[in-house]
């Protein structure tokens, strides 16, 4: 699905990613953990195509295409989705119109007619049920006045609506209460199939009880310094990151 090799990236002259490599196959769930400021969100933004970051070295192949050659919206059309750590508010633009625009832009690119109102409303109904999103929230302005947890849930609703191949969830669990965490995790699990993949960025192994990862990676000092299965997350929860730092001379 995605193959990242030796990725180096800078912002304002400061190198944040220093040789990150990662392989994600269809049907897999990968968790990325790591201390604050280690570059997790930076990595997610670079995958999504944020221009402020300079990729100075390395390669990313996404579904056979050179991802770095694609613009942000082309990446989205190709099936890449980012659930933002801090979702953005767009006052005056309702969620459903926002998503309808997004869906129709993609359809237009692929030479399809815009989605019919009926199909669209059915889709909204089906997907909002999946993440148990209050119908009122779907017609309110995008994230405006949403609580922290509602914003996160809305990200997963959008993910469900856009049906991406690769989803990157950047700390979607933080700020969620226990019930919401379960609901969001259930949503992600239901959306999972053998043709898509998910990268979950998190600080808490708690989430991984619900979304069981095939792999857990530790991002530190701009690289993946350790990989393992879900037991690694348990170990991190118990012992913190110091032992990994020592192992890697950081």
């Amino acid at each position: 699905m995605i193959e990242i090799k030796n990725l180096h990236a800078k912002i304002e002259g400061k190198e944040i990613l220093k040789g990150l490599s990662l392989n994600v196959n269809k049907g897999e769930i990968h968790a990325i953990m790591g201390p604050n400021g280690s570059g997790k969100s930076t990595f997610a933004s670079i995958l999504a195509g944020k221009e402020e970051y300079d990729v100075t070295n390395g390669s990313i192949v996404f579904c056979g295409e050179d991802l770095l050659e694609l613009s942000t919206e082309e990446r989205a059309w190709a099936g890449l989705f980012l659930a933002f750590q801090y979702p953005i508010e767009i006052p005056g633009v309702s969620n459903i119109n926002f998503l309808k625009t997004a869906i129709n832009e993609k359809r237009e690119k692929n030479g399809h007619e815009p989605i019919t109102a009926k199909d669209y409303m059915n889709l909204v109904r089906e997907k909002s049920k999946l993440v148990e999103l209050n119908a009122k929230l779907t017609s309110r302005s995008v994230n405006e006045g949403f609580s922290g947890g509602e914003k996160k849930r809305n990200e997963i609703f959008q993910m469900a609506m856009l049906n991406p191949k690769l989803s990157i969830l950047d700390e979607t669990d933080s700020g969620l209460d226990i019930d919401a965490l379960r609901i969001v995790a259930n949503g992600v699990n239901k959306l999972k199939n053998e043709n898509n993949a998910t990268i979950v960025i998190t600080h808490y192994q708690r989430l991984l009880d619900y979304i069981v990862p095939d792999f857990v990676h530790v991002l530190m000092d701009g690289r993946i310094v350790k990989s393992g299965d879900k037991d690694l997350a348990l170990k991190l929860e118990k012992n913190g990151y110091d032992w990994i730092k020592k192992e890697n001379d950081i």
Binding site: G49, A76, I90, S94, N97, K100, A102, E105, P114
Partner: protein
């Protein structure tokens, strides 16, 4: 409604150039250039006007000659050469059309390009919109007259009103905007050629939106439209005014006067979508739009001004309300967009004279390119205006680093019981917002259009549906390619 409109945006509009830039080839009958008493007499006689109107014009002309072009607005432009303008032009075949079928194909084509053909209006909107189509200075197509007539509603060209309803015109014309009000009002009073007239009788709620489309069609023809709307006691009317102009190089002057009179318990909603040619990317050409709009509110009456301003090279416009009667209400909802080298100085005046009078001002300015966008508002509370209330909100959205947004609120309060609130914000269109849209697969142009329309939603929601759609398109067109 919002659903419908954003949807529309998702479909149309790819063309960056001024969409309505075309000229219709209809032979016209034009006065020689320049402004003298003789020209005014010529206009008056061509229009077969009564003597009192000619005398009014000549008086206004005297006043105008004694006045200076105002220079207090935050705009810079070369003063129009008033002696280089032709003050009268009428389509050669200025006969009245008996029916829609009688209208020339060229005229129909023009209206089609404007997206306002009667068939289309009827078909798409399914609503009854009476259109008094003003092409250059003489009204050429009028419809729905009979239906309005049944209710006693008068909706006709200004010239016709002068002939058919001289008493109403004589009594109210100039009663809200006297010629001495300002330089351009004086000029208009001297040389106006046509416009619209509307009278709603006592107790009548006008069942359809009354709509007038203005259009400049003749090179170097000054446009001096005159509109007079009178809502008698307990009546209601929603009036729409919209305009587009063909693309051309030399600046054109547009100096309209609009007067509204809301008698006891009456309500007037006046909506404008203004899209005069704004000039090209380098600031060449475009319309000068210097308009005086004012309404008078008697007891318990209400006047709402809603405007979406996207056009003109220079705009100078302050739709105002004189809240004379107790408990009367004045509202002003405005979106003003400037791009490239456009300059706009717009706002409102709310003059509170009566007790318990209320006014609301919501102004949204959007500046892009190298443009300048100013809000200028006056809230004046007079001594007797006990318990007067005003709420003003002025928001500015900046699309580039080179544009300007300015706010000039003036408050004069002579009554201690009055309550005045003012809020103002300035924001820059967020790169984060755009990135968020892009990540969802929404292209930048569309993202901007979504964000801007969201920002203006409060105002767009005040417009009648068919106008809101048009307004959203205009916002999108006028801001295309403006972020970077």
């Amino acid at each position: 409604m919002a659903n419908y409109t954003e949807d529309q945006l998702a479909q149309d509009l790819k063309n960056q150039e001024y969409k309505f830039g075309f000229t219709t080839d209809i032979k016209s009958d034009k006065a020689p250039k320049g402004l003298t008493e003789d020209i005014i007499k010529l206009i008056s006689s061509k229009k077969q006007e009564p003597e009192w109107l000619l005398q009014n014009r000549l008086k206004a002309f005297k006043i105008w000659k004694s006045m200076e072009n105002p220079n207090w607005a935050h705009v810079k432009f070369t003063e129009p050469k008033f002696q280089d303008i032709s003050y009268y032009a009428a389509p050669k075949q200025s006969k009245k059309y008996e029916s829609w079928e009688d209208v020339e194909p060229e005229m129909k084509e023009t209206m089609k390009k404007l997206g306002i053909s009667l068939e289309e209006q009827k078909r798409i909107t399914g609503t009854n919109v009476a259109v008094d189509f003003v092409m250059d200075s003489v009204s050429v197509a009028t419809s729905f007259q009979s239906k309005l007539k049944e209710l006693g509603i008068i909706f006709c060209s200004f010239s016709e009103a002068v002939k058919e309803h001289p008493n109403l015109v004589k009594r109210y014309m100039g009663s809200v905007v006297p010629p001495s009000d300002n330089f351009y009002a004086a000029l208009n009073s001297a040389v106006f050629t046509d416009g619209s007239f509307c009278y709603i009788p006592k107790g009548v709620k006008c069942p359809m939106e009354l709509s007038t489309y203005f259009r400049i069609n003749e090179g170097e023809t000054g446009q001096f439209e005159r509109t007079l709307v009178i809502a008698d006691e307990d009546s209601y009317v929603s009036y729409l005014e919209g305009c587009t102009a063909p693309q051309r190089d030399e600046n054109q002057l547009h100096a309209a006067v609009v007067e509204l009179i809301a008698m006891e318990n009456a309500e007037i909603k006046y909506s404008t979508v203004q899209n005069w040619y704004p000039g090209d990317k380098n600031g060449l050409g475009g319309i000068f739009n210097f308009v005086t709009k004012r309404g008078l509110c008697e007891k318990n009456s209400k006047i709402s001004w809603t405007q979406v301003e996207t056009g003109s090279a220079v705009t100078w416009k302050y739709p105002s309300c004189i809240l004379k009667g107790d408990n009367s209400i004045g509202e002003f909802y405005s979106v003003a967009v400037t791009n490239n080298f456009q300059q706009a100085d717009t706002g409102t005046k709310m003059i509170h004279l009566g007790k318990n009078t209320k006014s609301t001002i919501i102004s949204k300015g959007i500046s892009a390119g190298k443009s300048n966008n100013s809000y200028r508002g006056l809230v004046q509370i007079h001594k007797n205006a006990k318990n007067a209330r005003n709420f003003s909100q002025c928001d500015s959205l900046l699309m580039s680093d080179e544009c300007g947004a300015h706010t000039f609120p003036y408050i004069e309060c002579k009554n201690k019981n009055a309550k005045i609130e003012h809020e103002a914000t300035t924001s820059k269109i967020g790169e984060d917002q755009i990135f968020y849209c892009l990540q969802r697969g929404i292209t930048e142009e569309k993202a901007i259009s979504l964000i801007v329309n969201g920002y203006c939603k409060e105002i767009l929601n005040k417009l009648p549906m068919e106008f809101a759609v048009e307004a959203q398109k205009l916002l999108t067109i006028s801001l295309e390619g403006s972020v970077g």
